[in-house]
């Protein structure tokens, strides 16, 4: 029964929420609303589970005295500090929690993503070789859109922006729409497979 009960739960939940879209009955919607509220809470516990797992993994590493142990200790200290400060003193603007978020979290996360600018330029230089018609089409479109969508494109040719916009609204759109339709068909079939129990990977091994 250890796998059958979860499969029944998955089926009932999935079928219920599909039916909720079609059934206008208020009682039905009220039950759906209640279960939605429960889902928000259960997902929150899943997030905390993730953090607990991070803590466990790093504690194991510290016990094994790996070469990055000092860094793992710093990680756990920061985790505990931020959690305690936030829970005890609140998270509103002007609190210690908020100060650390704005002055440490924000700059670091922003810079981590900004590093990608360097890597995309490097990757474009090394890997972008026009060896076939398809690669040429990709490269030419990329260059036209890249130059056309910035002000210098309009300075070079006043209709460059309109031309780039045409590429986005017509040929590009056709390809993206096909991908959207294909992905929708895939998502619907995967969803149905999960609901009827043909897809069970989310339950893990026995």
């Amino acid at each position: 029964m250890r796998k059958e009960v979860p499969l029944i739960i998955t089926f009932l939940a999935g079928a219920f929420f599909i039916a909720d879209y079609f059934v206008p009955h208020t009682g039905f919607s009220h039950i759906a609303e209640t279960i939605n509220g429960w889902t928000i809470i259960v997902i929150t516990f899943a997030y905390v589970l993730g953090v607990a797992n991070v803590t466990r993994v790093n504690l194991d590493y510290i016990q094994r005295k790996g070469k990055d142990t000092p860094y793992k200790i710093i990680l756990l200290i920061c985790l505990l500090f931020m959690m305690t400060v936030g829970i005890v003193w609140g998270i509103a603007e002007g609190t210690i929690f908020d100060w650390f978020f704005i002055n440490i979290y924000v700059p670091m996360q922003s810079m981590m993503f900004a590093l990608l600018a360097f890597y995309i330029a490097s990757a474009a230089f090394r890997a972008f070789r026009i060896r076939s018609t398809q690669a040429a089409l990709l490269a030419i479109t990329a260059v036209l859109v890249m130059i056309g969508r910035v002000p210098i494109g309009e300075a070079i040719w006043k209709d460059f922006s309109n031309f780039a916009e045409w590429i986005m609204n017509v040929p590009q759109l056709a390809g993206k729409r096909a991908i959207l339709i294909g992905a929708a068909l895939g998502a619907i079939s995967t969803g149905l497979k999960v609901i009827v129990g043909l897809e069970r990977t989310h339950l893990g091994a026995d």
């Binding site: 939605n36 330029a121 490097s122 230089f125 969508r149 494109g153």
Partner: protein, 279 residues
């Protein structure tokens, strides 16, 4: 010549990093001031908000985190500027965990400029985990999904939330999104079910896949990346980071184009030269 081409072909990537760093930095110190026009999707974003009757209630879902700040924060600020100018009542939600403090700052800053009062003219309902489930839950009841605002005040005590049960009580939705959950989920779960006007400001990475939604009318307007933010700032009449960054954007794009060009030139000329040597 061959040595130069080989040097280019085997160029250490740190030289590329240096050039990109200079391409972005120099225009910030020496602005070029190149003008630009506004595209249709951006005009649609502006016009849709402009058409909303003054004093109406709008939901603004800021689904992003600091990783996308340069693209999306200018859009948030410009949108708040337009909405406060029209005396629209703004209800803000966040579906990304790191969003609320950033949006709180934007709200407080704009509220101070326009002398708007928290709880009466705007409210930040904060974050809820659950992604699409939160959207579907809001369709049934926004107060039950967000029982308090970001600072813990019960929504029953917040004036702007009086009379707001679900999406039917709102004039439109403005979504500023960095990925998942974001615009796609708002279109699928909310716009498709409730047929409410939806406009989106998104990162440039996501923008191409949302053009089909704009073409069908599921999105009434679309801002794509920092350029979209700059065009929107032009319409609203503000000089924000979006506009200030355009010159750096232009020069950096030309730099990337230059690297792609010389990379290919070096590769193909070297290949031809090596082919001649073999013969």
């Amino acid at each position: 010549m061959k040595k130069l081409l080989e040097f280019i072909n085997n160029l250490d990537r740190r030289w590329i990093f240096l050039f990109i760093g200079l391409a972005v930095s120099l225009p910030l110190f020496f602005p070029l001031g190149i003008d630009f026009t506004v595209s249709h999707p951006v005009q649609g974003f502006y016009d849709t908000i402009e058409k909303v009757p003054n004093g109406s209630k709008i939901l603004m879902s800021c689904d992003y985190d600091p990783g996308s700040l340069p693209e999306l924060y200018p859009m948030t600020v410009a949108a708040l500027e337009q909405m406060f100018r029209k005396d629209l009542k703004v209800i803000v939600t966040c579906l990304w965990p790191a969003g609320p403090p950033v949006v709180e700052r934007a709200l407080n800053h704009m509220a101070f400029e326009y002398k708007k009062e928290k709880g009466i003219d705007f409210v930040n309902l904060g974050f809820k985990e659950g992604r699409e489930v939160v959207m579907v839950s809001m369709g049934a009841s926004i107060p039950n999904t967000f029982p308090t605002d970001y600072n813990g005040t019960p929504v029953t005590q917040i004036q702007i939330m009086q009379g707001v049960t679900n999406f039917k009580d709102l004039a439109m939705i403005v979504n500023i999104s960095a990925g998942y959950p974001g615009t796609k989920e708002w279109v699928q779960q909310v716009q498709a079910r409730y047929n409410i006007d939806l406009v989106s400001g998104c990162t440039a990475v996501s923008a191409p896949e949302f053009y089909p939604y704009y073409q069908t009318g599921q999105l009434k307007g679309l801002l794509g990346g920092m350029k979209g933010a700059a065009e929107y700032e032009k319409l609203v009449g503000v000089m924000g980071l979006g506009t200030r960054g355009m010159d750096a954007q232009s020069v950096s794009h030309l730099t990337v184009f230059f690297f792609i060009l010389i990379g290919n030139l070096a590769y193909f000329v070297l290949r031809a030269l090596k082919g001649k040597e073999v013969k």
